[in-house]
C-alpha cells in the first residue's frame, strides 16, 4: 500500500505539472456546467408554467428533474474524458523506458497497478468534486433530498472507477497513448450500450446483457437506492480490469 502511494504520488505530480489535468478539467467543467444550466433553465421554465396551471405542478421534483439528469450527463462526459486521463498510465512509462525503474524496484507489480489506478481515481474524484458546486447551489435556492445526491456521487465514482480500470488495462497493452485512449473509449462505450441489445434478445440473454451494462447500475444509485448487486457489479468490474492489467504487464515480460 505504501508503495502504491509512492507510485500514485508521482503520477499525481506529473498530472499537476502538465497541462493535461487543467485542460481536461476545464473542458469537463465547461461542458458539464453548460448542460447543467440548460437543465436548470428548463426546470425553472416548467415551474413558471406550473404556476399558471395548477395541475401541472404535480410531477415537479428537483431531484428527479435536475439532479438526476445532471448526473446522467456527467456520466457521458466522463466517458469521453477518462480515456484521456488514463491513457498515459503505462503507455508513457513503457515508451520512455521509465517502467524499468519500477520493474527493478522492490515492489510488487500489483502495487504498481493499484498505484496507477489510485492516481487516476484521485484526479477523477477531484474533477467530480469541482463540479459539485452546481448541486451545492441547488441547496441554496431549493430543498432537494440529500440522500439521492450522495448515492448519486457514490454511483458516479464507482462507474468512473470502471472506466479508469478499463483505461489502465488498455494503457498496459500498448506504448501508444492514442491507441490506449481509443480502446478505452470504445470498450467503455460498448459496455454502456450493451444493454440496448436486451430489447431484441430473448429474455434470458436480455437479462444478462442488461446486467452487464455499466449505465444500468447507475440508475438505481441516482434514485437513491444502494443495491448490493450494483456495488458488486462495479467492484468486480474494477477488480477484473486491474487483474487483466496485471496479467498483461506480467506476460509482457515473458515475450
Amino acid at each position: 500500500m505504501k508503495n502504491s502511494w509512492i507510485v500514485a504520488k508521482r503520477d499525481l505530480g506529473s498530472f499537476f505539472n502538465s497541462p493535461i489535468f487543467y485542460v481536461v478539467t476545464t473542458v469537463f467543467l465547461i461542458l458539464y456546467s453548460f448542460i447543467f444550466i440548460n437543465i436548470l433553465n428548463f426546470f425553472s421554465m416548467q415551474s413558471m408554467q406550473s404556476g399558471q396551471f395548477q395541475q401541472m405542478g404535480m410531477g415537479l421534483n428537483i431531484n428527479e428533474m435536475v439532479i438526476e439528469p445532471s448526473f446522467q450527463n456527467m456520466a457521458v462526459i466522463l466517458l469521453l474524458i477518462i480515456p484521456i486521463i488514463t491513457m498515459r498510465s503505462f503507455a508513457e512509462e513503457k515508451k520512455s523506458k521509465t517502467f524499468r525503474l519500477l520493474l527493478s524496484s522492490p515492489v510488487h507489480l500489483k502495487e504498481i497497478v493499484f498505484g496507477k489506478f489510485l492516481a487516476c481515481m484521485i484526479v477523477v474524484t477531484l474533477m467530480v468534486l469541482l463540479s459539485s458546486y452546481s448541486i451545492g447551489f441547488l441547496f441554496f435556492i431549493s430543498e432537494p433530498d440529500i440522500g439521492p445526491v450522495l448515492t448519486g456521487y457514490l454511483g458516479i465514482l464507482l462507474m468512473a472507477g470502471c472506466y479508469v480500470s478499463v483505461g489502465i488495462f488498455a494503457s498496459s497493452l500498448t506504448e501508444n497513448q492514442i491507441v490506449a485512449a481509443v480502446i478505452t473509449f470504445g470498450f467503455s462505450l460498448f459496455m454502456w450500450v450493451i444493454g440496448w441489445g436486451a430489447q431484441t434478445a430473448d429474455s434470458a440473454t436480455g437479462q444478462v446483457l442488461q446486467y452487464l451494462s455499466i449505465i444500468e447500475h447507475l440508475d438505481r444509485f441516482l434514485k437513491g437506492i444502494i443495491e448490493t448487486s450494483d456495488i458488486t457489479y462495479y467492484l468486480s468490474f474494477i477488480i477484473f480490469g486491474l487483474f487483466l492489467c496485471h496479467r498483461a504487464l506480467d506476460s509482457n515480460r515473458w515475450r
Binding site: S96, T98, R100, L102, P106
Partner: protein, 311 residues
C-alpha cells in the same frame, strides 16, 4: 555473490542468450563486452529481475532472481541503457521518488538523496527539470537513481553511451570511485572503457560467452607473438630485409613508409638488437615501442575465431 547458471532467454523464437554461466565475486568490477545485440542487456535485465529467464538460474547472495526477486531488487541498483528518467520532474523530486520506490525508509530519504546528489556532483542542478539537462547530467541522474538506496550491486548498461569525451571521462571517474564500495557489472561495446575500469571481462558474442578472463589473462592466452613498432627518420628499402635477418623475428610489415611492425617470438625482448641495428645503419630512431594487444584485437580475434568453425 552472483552465480549465473546455464542462462538462456528467448524472445519469441529468437534466442537472445544461450547457456550463459559465470560467477562474480563480491567487490569485483566486471565488464560485459560484446557487439550490439550480443545479449548484454538481456543478461543484465535478467540479473536485475526485470525479465525472467527462459531457462537457467541466477542466484544473488543465495536468492533466486525468479523466486525471491524482491530480496534481490533491494540490493541491486540498475541503470538501463536508456536512463529511466521522467523528463517533467526536477532532479531532487525524481531522486526522492526513486529512493521511495527502491525501499529507502521515509526518514532516511532526504539524507540518501543528499548523498547521491553530492556523489554524482548534481548539487547545482537539484532543482532543475530533468528534461532540460544535458545528456551528461541526465546520465549522472540515471547513475544517482541506481545508487540512491546504497545497493551492494550496481548494474550499469552502457553508462557512457551518447556522451561527449569530457563527460565520458567524468562518468568513468565516478564509476571508478564507486568500484571501491560496490560490486559493479558494466556493459559496453566501447573497448577502452572496459580496459580502464574493469578487472575482469566477460566477452559475449551472439548470446554466448566467448571468453571470461582478466584483461592480462586474455592478452596472454591469445598472444602468439610479441609486436614491436619502429619509426625512423631515414627509411630505405633495405630496412625490412635487415630486420628480417634478426634472430627470432617472425615477420616485418610496414603500413607507412617510415613505420615498421616487427612480429617476434614471445618474450624475445628484441628492442636492444633493433636499436643497435638502427644505430649502425643511421636510420635515425624516432620511436621504438612494444605494441600491446588492445581489447579491440582481442575482441575481434575472439569473435571471428568463434565464427569460423560455424561457417
Amino acid at each position: 555473490m552472483i552465480e549465473v547458471e546455464n542462462l538462456t532467454r528467448y524472445y519469441g523464437s529468437r534466442r537472445a542468450i544461450n547457456n550463459l554461466s559465470f560467477q562474480i565475486e563480491k567487490g569485483e568490477v566486471v565488464g560485459f563486452l560484446g557487439p550490439n545485440g550480443a545479449g548484454k542487456s538481456t543478461t543484465m535485465n535478467i540479473i536485475s529481475c526485470i525479465l525472467p529467464a527462459s531457462s537457467g538460474t541466477v542466484k544473488i547472495n543465495g536468492f533466486d532472481t525468479f523466486e525471491q526477486s524482491l530480496e534481490i531488487r533491494k540490493i541491486i541498483g540498475y541503470l538501463p541503457e536508456t536512463p529511466p528518467l521522467y523528463p517533467d520532474m526536477t532532479v531532487a523530486k525524481y531522486l526522492d521518488f526513486a529512493a521511495g520506490i527502491r525501499g529507502v525508509a521515509a526518514k532516511r530519504i532526504p539524507a540518501s538523496v543528499e548523498r547521491v546528489l553530492d556523489k554524482c556532483s548534481l548539487k547545482d542542478v537539484g532543482h532543475r527539470i530533468i528534461g532540460r539537462l544535458s545528456k551528461g547530467y541526465q546520465q549522472r541522474v540515471g547513475l544517482a537513481q541506481a545508487m540512491v538506496h546504497d545497493p551492494e550491486i550496481l548494474i550499469l548498461d552502457e553508462p557512457t553511451i551518447g556522451l561527449d569525451p569530457i563527460q565520458i571521462i567524468e562518468i568513468r571517474k565516478l564509476i571508478q570511485e564507486l568500484a571501491a564500495e560496490h560490486t559493479i557489472i558494466l556493459s559496453s561495446h566501447i573497448l577502452p572503457e572496459i580496459t580502464q575500469i574493469c578487472k575482469r571481462v566477460i566477452i559475449i558474442n551472439e548470446g554466448e560467452i566467448a571468453a571470461v578472463d582478466s584483461l592480462g589473462g586474455l592478452t596472454a592466452s591469445l598472444r602468439k607473438s610479441d609486436r614491436i613498432s619502429l619509426t625512423v627518420r631515414n627509411s630505405d628499402d633495405t630496412i625490412i630485409e635487415k630486420l628480417n635477418n634478426l634472430d627470432q623475428v617472425l615477420s616485418v610489415s610496414s603500413e607507412e613508409e617510415d613505420q615498421f611492425f616487427i612480429e617476434c617470438a614471445l618474450r624475445s625482448n628484441l628492442q636492444d638488437d633493433i636499436a643497435k641495428l638502427a644505430l649502425e645503419n643511421h636510420w635515425g630512431i624516432i620511436e621504438l615501442k612494444p605494441v600491446s594487444m588492445t581489447l579491440e584485437d582481442i575482441f575481434l580475434k575472439l569473435t571471428l575465431e568463434e565464427k569460423e568453425p560455424a561457417a
